[in-house]
């Protein structure tokens, strides 16, 4: 008997009853805060040492234009946003070594979560393949306010399991030294969140 058969045999290998699963009660809250999700998101993201800016859509290119250095931009990121930035388009794909030499990356996001101050990338248009937002040391992410979900359940509902997803809450950090949080390990050490309408 091979390993698969034997493990399944040990488990008795029965069909689960979908009704039994559906009957599991879910009495928890769908959201913990009513009211302005944008304000809450800005506050919570800042709690994890992300640099948070709120700008009107028309001012976005100006604010991004303040970035100094060379940034990579994924396919599908509106060109108007980065008109004032020294950007490299990821087309053809930039090598990992070259990504490491750049100053940062500018992307959009799929969803944001107000309660936890999280941005979620699904690596679709405007967000790029996963390495793009991992290797450069500064990640600038533009969050359109309509993308902000109030809480985790709403975000999970909006996201598609068919896409690879990256949940990002603040710059990379560790709690491995004496269980205290320190920012800045392997992922981007700087996270800038620009909230726009």
């Amino acid at each position: 008997m091979n390993a698969r058969e034997e493990i399944l045999r040990r488990l008795g290998d029965t069909e689960a009853d979908p009704a039994a699963y559906a009957a599991i009660p879910r009495p928890y809250l769908r959201r913990h805060h009513d009211g302005d999700v944008v304000e809450l998101f800005a506050e919570r993201a800042a709690d994890y040492r992300a640099e948070v800016r709120r700008v009107a859509g028309a001012d976005l290119p100006g604010v991004l234009g303040e970035l100094r250095g060379r940034y990579v931009a994924p396919d599908g990121l509106p060109e108007a946003w980065t008109a004032g930035v020294d950007v490299v388009r990821d087309d053809p794909p930039v090598s990992i070594a070259d990504l490491d030499a750049l100053d940062g990356v500018i992307t959009g996001c799929a969803v944001a979560i107000a309660e936890t101050g999280t941005v979620v990338l699904d690596h679709g248009p405007g967000q790029g393949r996963r390495a793009l937002t991992l290797v450069p040391d500064h990640h600038v992410v533009v969050v359109e306010s309509a993308r902000i979900a109030a809480d985790v359940p709403e975000a999970v509902e909006r996201l598609s399991p068919d896409r690879p997803l990256t949940f990002i809450s603040g710059p990379s950090a560790t709690s491995d030294i004496e269980l205290s949080r320190v920012e800045g390990v392997h992922g981007p050490r700087r996270l800038t969140i620009v909230i726009t309408d």
Binding site: L8, R10, G12, P25, H32, D100, R130, L134, T166
Partner: protein, 476 residues
């Protein structure tokens, strides 16, 4: 215990070589004042933070109850959900492997790595691979596994063993970490201080090149969604993302109990896990992928290693709900004093005391002693985000533990004495006399003969010089 059972235990999870029973191991740890200081500092810090993070959610009890029910349902129908997971991962281009025990899992992973022609792999911290002793097994095949999680790196560079589920180097203070880095990390800056930010930066520099060049990575899995074939890895530093994203081949090793039925279940666990483990509203990074992603070759290794046997025990199976948050370690008075090494397995603390003996299923001295490594105070149950009643399982495992011949004889003798009032009265008078001879200052430090085992770890009270009956007769 038969030789076969022992061999099966050894194939599952290695007991650390020469590991003594918990009381002996703990005795040395308790005497180590630096260890106790480090542990007390770290656990009390995180305890207060966790309480704050949990109290933010008014529905914590409901989330916890739902998580418990989801896990119980999944464990009940584990075969069904594993087949579904396999089907979905395969449909999305992943390759699924099954392993009955640690030896088989290690064989599968080693063969997959060898097939790539690589001799170095990067690793994301994973309890499953600790449990099966993967690094040691790979080393025996000439493959170097480089741990990339900061705490795992500290343990690996220090030629040490992990002592905590979440923070394997919790027994090390910042000054010790600096010394280990200076001594063992090639290229560590000479002026390295013990500032945590500087230490984190040194780790970044040390691993950067390795990440960017790695061809094969090995990871664990926090959750696997059966209906969508999605794998979830929850982490902080970005070393996880580096390993999951950059290499051409990704091999993820998961215990079969990590599966959850549906995508929606993540909304429960992604709220419970970060707040319970690092006391954060959300951990810095969570990666989710379904099957082969962005051109990568993806292997998923499903490991039993004692889980099906654990599941067969109606009381003990609740240990399989564990999501490895480590909250129970941080609140445990025994863990805080004895430290993680005394538990003799990668799973220390209260959860380790019920998980290791069940997974290993074989009676090494340390496993037999683990169900007793607790005061049954219940703090672990209270903080557990999936409501594992650890004290209940401990008591259950105690009743299952092998009792020595002398202990059985003593119990039979006690029963014989208690059955007859005459025998009991005689016994009490005898004890009173013995008490007057042995007792000093209210306690007996050392009992004679085989009874020394009782007084090895505690004082025995002096028997009363007068029985209750004698006292009652005098009064009336």
């Amino acid at each position: 215990m038969s030789t076969d059972q022992r061999a099966a235990g050894a194939a599952r999870m290695p007991t650390y070589v020469g590991m003594p029973a918990f009381p002996e191991a703990a005795r040395d740890a308790v005497r180590d004042t630096r260890l106790r200081r480090n542990l007390t500092h770290a656990t009390t810090t995180i305890r207060a933070k966790r309480a704050a993070a949990v109290s933010e959610l008014a529905d914590w009890a409901e989330l916890r109850e739902t998580a418990k029910r989801i896990k119980d349902h999944t464990i009940e129908h584990l075969g069904h959900y594993l087949r579904l997971l396999e089907e979905q991962v395969t449909a999305r281009g992943g390759i699924v492997h099954w392993a009955r025990d640690a030896a088989e899992a290690n064989r599968v992973v080693a063969d997959l790595i060898k097939a790539t022609g690589e001799t170095d792999v990067v690793k994301v911290k994973s309890m499953a691979t600790q449990e099966i002793g993967l690094n040691e097994a790979l080393a025996a095949e000439g493959i170097r596994a480089h741990e990339t999680d900061l705490a795992e790196l500290i343990v690996q560079l220090g030629h040490d063993r992990p002592s905590h589920i979440l923070v394997p180097a919790i027994h090390r203070g910042r000054a010790e970490i600096r010394d280990i880095f200076r001594r063992e990390m090639p290229g560590a800056p000479d002026d390295l201080t013990d500032e945590p930010a500087r230490l984190a930066e040194a780790a970044r520099e040390h691993l950067r090149e390795r990440f960017l060049k790695a061809k094969v990575a090995v990871s664990g899995v926090n959750f696997a969604v059966a209906e969508t074939g999605s794998l979830v890895v929850v982490e902080s530093e970005g070393n996880g993302r580096m390993c999951l994203t950059l290499p051409e081949t990704l091999i993820s090793v998961m215990g079969i109990e990590k599966v959850v039925p549906s995508w929606q279940d993540l909304e429960v666990f992604l709220q419970l896990l970060p707040r319970s483990s690092t006391a954060e509203r959300m951990n810095p990074y969570t990666s989710v992928w379904s099957g082969a992603t962005e051109g990568q070759t993806f292997h998923l290794v499903l490991v039993d290693n004692g889980r099906t046997a654990t599941r067969d025990d109606e009381v003990g199976r609740q240990a399989l709900r564990c999501i490895r948050c480590s909250a129970c370690l941080n609140v445990c008075p025994v863990y805080q004093r004895a430290g993680g090494h005394a538990y003799g397995s990668p799973y220390p603390g209260p959860i380790g005391a019920i998980l290791s003996p069940q997974l290993r299923g074989a009676g090494s001295p340390v496993d037999d002693s683990l169900p007793y490594a607790s005061t049954l105070c219940g703090a672990c149950y209270e903080v557990c985000p999936v409501a594992i009643d650890i004290p209940e399982v401990l008591v259950h495992l105690r009743s299952r533990a092998v009792h020595g011949r002398a202990e059985k004889a003593a119990m039979r003798f006690a029963a014989w004495t208690l059955r007859s009032p005459t025998r009991l009265a005689f016994g009490q008078r005898l004890a009173g006399t013995a008490g007057r001879m042995l007792g000093r200052r209210g306690g007996i430090r050392r009992l004679p003969g085989p009874l020394t085992r009782w007084t090895d770890t505690r004082d025995a009270p002096v028997p009363a010089t007068e029985t209750f009956r004698e006292w009652w007769e005098k009064r009336s």
